[in-house]
Structure formats: structure tokens, C-alpha cells
Symmetry: C2
Subunit: 238 residues, 2 copies
DNA sequence: CGGGGGTTTGAGTCCGTTCAAAATACGTGG
DNA sequence: CCACGTATTTTGAACGGACTCAAACCCCCG
């Protein structure tokens, strides 16, 4: 059996590329991307980049999941976004031409490629479709951020937690034998709190409340949702 | 004296263009933009576009100020952003290729140009710098949205209101004879609540609290801040 | 002068926070 | 593999900020 760290990957064989911004590249451009990239493996907790540091390029998640966190002077922090296989990382700072305004760390073991900013610039110049892809991507992210603002001010923690589960189910959920949805969370309780914008204690209570009402049952990071509609009901008619 | 509605404006003479995304255009491209554009004047409360409607193009604020609001099924709503002279409007939906996810209405009397999406597409194709400008712009907006998320979950309403005043001072404030900062708010109390993500009653109380502590004095939409540092103190060490 | 919307104030309630302690999970070394 | 120390999670009780509902007030305009 091939050992995982010796598995040589290229942009040509990258699983995530199809749904990434780079999917429009081909031929020499893809070759260029492939040779400019440097791949690293990060273990959970390891930091990919730090808030405040200058942006030297762009990262691309091949496999795994990472959190993008934003910090305060007072030590407060929230997770503003998550990224998984095929997602690109650190492009906000790149396009703004500013230092990172957020940090990023791995939630699961992750293979992540770094692409130097000069290479990115060249690829952008040569390939307008790449720029379009990033425009589309940022528009989507902006949409998500604005939705989050609305949710934060109009929904309870319980509803926001339910919403989080609904988002996570697309990437981390599957349907069990009995037809029930099962999600394996990539997040600790602390991180769920950071995603929802609240404290860990409050997440624990909200989790408990959902269990009592039979909406979902939690066992560590394993969540079972008997009826998806119950979860959907949580976020409307608050 | 020339009457305001008869004042013919062009992209060439547009005051806001210098700091807008379109500043990179010149010669025939600028001419193209100028002839594709349709200008309208909106009175406060008038809607520029509705959440849910298809995006037919992009708007550009020549003068005035508008709010971008996001609505719930339950009737909740927040202002996710404001836009003033030189700002572009509705580009999120354009680049995402989706219907508007937010509505926009004028806060002040505003001259706003509409540019058909075909024209925008042509300009983008011909002028890569335009795309870059929008990338930079969206990166900035994304930054703002993420900062808002952090603030919403770590700062009190009073601190968020103080932060709002600090943001508004750049565009709507000036220093009086006595050296005190004076801001003329473009927002009603209701809209301030929608910006901060709270209810009007809570804004009234926060306003009162700031007055009692001598940080700022409010008279309708006129705000006087004797010492800017006091306002800055409000948002740190919460 | 009489609406009518927006704003302010008040009182009561609820949700989420805070602080503290107990329980559980986790990693490490014996 | 178990024992131990540490970190995370959970629970409890008390507090506080923001929300709700309701009424009074104010200002603008007809």
C-alpha cells in the first residue's frame, strides 16, 4: 500500500480542481500552475497563515478542511468561513493587496498547495476566465457573509446551530441505512461556538435542547438527524 | 441658476469616477460606458432594485447615499452595506449571475446611473483592469462583512453604535469651529438599528447612554462628538 | 388642528453570558 | 494497556443586556 505522504499529486490529477477556480486552466497554463505550486500537509491545529502577516500568494485546498478565523485585540475570535477540498484560500488579502485580515488553521489533516503571488498574477493576466472565476467566488462569499449578518441579528443560537448543521450536511453528512441523516462534524464544540458567534457553554445548551426535542442526537462529533424537515423548521418562523 | 434635473452629466465629468471602479477606463471605453449608461434621480425611500429580482446590469452612484438591505421571510431585515458617490451597486448579483439577494433604496436624494449588463460585460472583456478593480472592491467588502461578524458577536450595541459613528464620520462628518466633530447622519434611528443589527428602542437607549456619559450629543440627525478619543475608547476593552 | 409615522421611555421577560465546578475525553508516559 | 494530568465539554446558578409590548411623545405635513 502506498504511504500517504509519498503520494505525489499534481494539478492534473487534483480531485478538487474540477470545482475550484482553476478549472478553466488548461495546457501550458495548467502546467505553469503545477510547477509553481508547493504542497504541504497540515495536521489539525496547524496554522496555514496568520492574521497580520503579509500575503505572499494563494493557497488551494486539495483535501481536508480548514477554518478561517478573525481575531480581536481583546482575544475574541470567530470563524468567518470554512474551506474544504477544491476551495481556494487567502485570496481576499491577495486581491486587496493587504496583509491577511484573518488566520487559517487546519480542522482535519489537509493537503494544501501554495501558489506564489507572481505566478498567480501571470496566470490571471494570461487567462481572463480565471479572474471571472474569482469574481464569481467572491460574490458568493460576500453573499454568505451578508446572510450571516442577517441571521446573527434575527435568529436565536439554537436556530443558527441548526443552520450550521444544514450547511455541514452537504459536505460532511450522509444518509444511513435507516434513512436518517448522519453528520460527522469537522468541528469541536468550541469551533461550533466560534462559527455561530457565541460561547461554548451556549452551544452545549443548544445541543441539549435539540436532543430533548428529538431534532437531532449528538454523540461527540457524530450527529444523527432522524427527520431533516425538523431541522429546516428550526430556522424559519422564529 | 441651473435647475438640478437639467444638469446633464457624463461619465467624463462624473465627480465620483476618480474613486470608482471605472477610473481605469479611458478613450473609447469611457465613451462606450457613457453612452450605455442611463441616469436617474431617486428620492429618499425610493427603491433602486428589489431583492429577488433578476439583475439586469450594474448601478453607479454619482451623488447621494443608498442603503443595501437584506430581508427575511419573517420580515426581519438589516442593512448590509451603504453606498455613496463613486460606489458601484448591485455587482454581487451581476458577478454571481444570480438574482439580487438584497434590495437597495435611497437614503438621500441620489443620482444613480444604470449600465446594462451587456455593456458591462463588453467593458470587462476589453479592459482587464476593470475586472481587477472589482476584485479589489469585493475583497474590501468581504473584509468589511467579516469584521461586522466579529463585531456583532463580541461588542455591545453601544460599542457597535460608536463604531458606526466612526465609520460615518469619514463621509458625513466635519470639524466645527470649536474643534469638535460634527456628523450629519444620513440615517434614521430605524436605519441605524438596521445597520447595527438591533431594534430602534435599543438604539434610542444606546444614544441616551452616550449622551449621559458625554461621549456624544444628539439632536435629531446632528451629532456632536467633543472628543474623538472617547468614541474610540468605546469600541476597545469591552 | 388633527392625523400618522417615527422616536423615546417604561416595565417585564427572556436569552445568552459569566463564573464556577463537575464530568468527560484525550494524550502521554510509565 | 493502564494511570495520570490536562484540556475540553457539560451543568448549574446568578446576572445582565437586549427584546417585547405598550404607552407617551414629538415632529412633520396635510
Amino acid at each position: 500500500m502506498e504511504r500517504s505522504f509519498s503520494r505525489v499529486t499534481t494539478c492534473f490529477t487534483c480531485q478538487g480542481r474540477a470545482r475550484s477556480e482553476w478549472c478553466s486552466l488548461e495546457g501550458p497554463d495548467l502546467q505553469h500552475l503545477n510547477s509553481a505550486r508547493v504542497t504541504n500537509v497540515y495536521q489539525p491545529g496547524q496554522v496555514i497563515f496568520y492574521q497580520g502577516n503579509p500575503c505572499l500568494g494563494i493557497y488551494c485546498v486539495e483535501t481536508g478542511t480548514v477554518a478561517i478565523r478573525r481575531h480581536d485585540i481583546n482575544g475574541n475570535s470567530v470563524i468567518v468561513r470554512m474551506a474544504s477540498g477544491g476551495d481556494t484560500l487567502g485570496y481576499r488579502a491577495f486581491f486587496a493587496g493587504e496583509p491577511y485580515r484573518a488566520s487559517s488553521d487546519a480542522l482535519e489533516p489537509s493537503r494544501i498547495c501554495f501558489i506564489d503571488k507572481n505566478a498567480v498574477r501571470q496566470l490571471l493576466d494570461r487567462n481572463p476566465a480565471l479572474g471571472h472565476a474569482f469574481l464569481r467566488r467572491m460574490a458568493t462569499d460576500l453573499d454568505g457573509a451578508e446572510e450571516a449578518k442577517l441571521h446573527a441579528s434575527s435568529l436565536s443560537v439554537r436556530a443558527r446551530l441548526s443552520h450550521l448543521l444544514l450547511v455541514l450536511k452537504d459536505r460532511f453528512g450522509n444518509v444511513g441505512d435507516d434513512g436518517a441523516l448522519e453528520i460527522t462534524l469537522p468541528l469541536s464544540r468550541q469551533d461550533m461556538a466560534a462559527m455561530v458567534g457565541t460561547r461554548p457553554e451556549t452551544i452545549a445548551r443548544a445541543v441539549r435542547a435539540l436532543e430533548i426535542d428529538g431534532v437531532a442526537s449528538f454523540d461527540g462529533r457524530r450527529v444523527v438527524v432522524p427527520d431533516l424537515d425538523d431541522l429546516l423548521d428550526e430556522i424559519e418562523a422564529e
